[in-house]
Amino acid sequence: MNSAALVTMVLAQGIVIALTLYFFYKVLTTPPTQEPDSFSENDEETIRKND
């Protein structure tokens, strides 16, 4: 590969990989919101629906 192409590829892909990992890391390490949240299969809340 020529150096211009290599630099462009490494820069572009490096930025995308770094930000993807950073945001995913934030998702994994951010403490869950206090209940009620949406991610618990334990939510037993029910809503009324009109027949």
């Binding site: 462009t8 930025i15 995308v16 951010t30 949406s38 809503i47 629906k49």
Partner: protein
Amino acid sequence: MTAKVESWGSRVGLILAMAGNAVGLGNFLRFPVQAVQNGGGAFIIPYLVCFLLMGIPLLFVEWSMGRFGGKSGHHSTPFILDSMDKRKFWKYIGVFGIFTNLAVAAYYCYLESWTLSWVWHSISRTFAGQSQEEVAGFFNSYVGLEMPVETIFFWILCLLLNTWILSKGLGGIEKVAKIGMPLLILFGVILAVRGVTLGTSGASDVFPNANAWDGLNFLWTPQFDSLANPKVWLAAAGQIFFTLSVGMGTIHCYAAYLKERDDVALNAVSAGFMNEFVEVVLGSLIVIPIAAGYLGLDWVIQNAGFGMAFQTMPYLFEQWGGVLAILAGVFWFGLLFFAGITSSLAMGTPWMGFMSDEFGWSKNKGAWSFGALALIMGLPTVIFYNQGVFDQYDYWAGTVSLVVFAFLETVLFSYIFGINRGWEEINKGADIKLPKFFKYVILIITPLLLGAVLVTSIPDWANQIQNNDTRNKEWFADNYFAENFEGSGKMSGKVVEVKSDYVKFEFENERKKFDKVSNQVLVEKFNDTKEYKFDANLNQEVIVKVGDVIKPGDAIAKGDFTNNTLYKFIGRMLLLTLFVFISVIVYVAYKKRVKEGRATL
């Protein structure tokens, strides 16, 4: 009646499902082709700028609109939009958010079924020993229904699979995303490593100059002069728009199952960047370098397109021989299958959510009715694929509808719902602090960029409706006219071979070549050919003779002709009928709400 509120099992599951919704075949096929056609490495600059100024803001808008609507028990766009303004017409704009998904699912499931079928053919070594033309011919036979049982079997299987998973609700979708996305990334990484390390080992007697690094050079060498070209910026905006699955209504629907204090800001950028990883990193390292590694860069420049996935890649994998060929085929088509099914599952949820919210339909009933609609709407795309019905669906539902809806929802969010309320919604419960810069981007830049994409595409709508892509505009005709020989329609063709039902033309055409010394794409002229085959059973007979010089639009055959314009018109009418059908259901739902005292505002 009481019903348990559906919810996502985990945050990671939601993000993978959202990323799976966005990641599709375009990540691996459309992005690299757009890049090579729009300035190579320089394309990444407008591409990333558009991601920042249009992609991420639209994700914020759609995630927060979905969560806002979900708070009032709305899980699809008609009543999500309705809840954001007192004017009654918004619910009919929201019809786009169900229509697009049903119409796209109708042809997308067919496309998805090809990937399943090609996995099977890779394992059974159908392509072993075949030339590239034979592999391409196999695809044409497949979609031409020359093996109808197999084609229909895989299509129905795919529809049933989607329907069955959808009938399990969000839990089923989440499980598929948790399995499918990691496998997709794993398969993609394996193929990308092969793409990067292939080098010149794929060169052959037929393509002695084949070199995978030429493909990467071509894809990534920046041609900075292209940055001054508005068309390149529009292409970048279009690619960002279509890759993120915005403007469909699926993001709203998934986000509607969040609660009021759940984060949307971090979730949206995480899912968005996961899509970018698959596109910019994996998408650029598979098709182009592997094809250039075996067929040479000039072949890639002349043939790069969507068809490479099914017509070229199996041939390339066969060059690896034996078990490696099987594995590569399974990885590639498996990857495309996971990319496809995580998207098609998302397309089922707006319809299911709407029917559940408004008419109390169960998941099972919603899923099977979605499957039935996809079957009915999809049947013409399967039977009349070669007549252009598939492409009509893709154009009107998969392209135009998205841009129109995204533009209107952005106007609603920024100017009617109000940017201050909107910004508050986006930041509610946010796990990251967003720069205020995005508030002004959503208010000004995003609608402007979307407006530009919308306005520049309007002339093409007119061309499509007026059938300006063909010289055979009548539905039924007694003569068949020569189509354009090349893009401009200015060149004439010389008849070089004639039978009563066959004619071959020769004409001067242009093709692109990559000059390794200057790193520039050059244009060269060459003698091209074009063939027409006619059907003697329909009294079709060629009326030109060897040596005749024919212009586009000149009659070349007589007989009974039914032109593709008829099938394209039927395709458009089917889509219109679907839109009206959903609008009527929304109207009935609204009347029901009024009667029950549940109508909003």
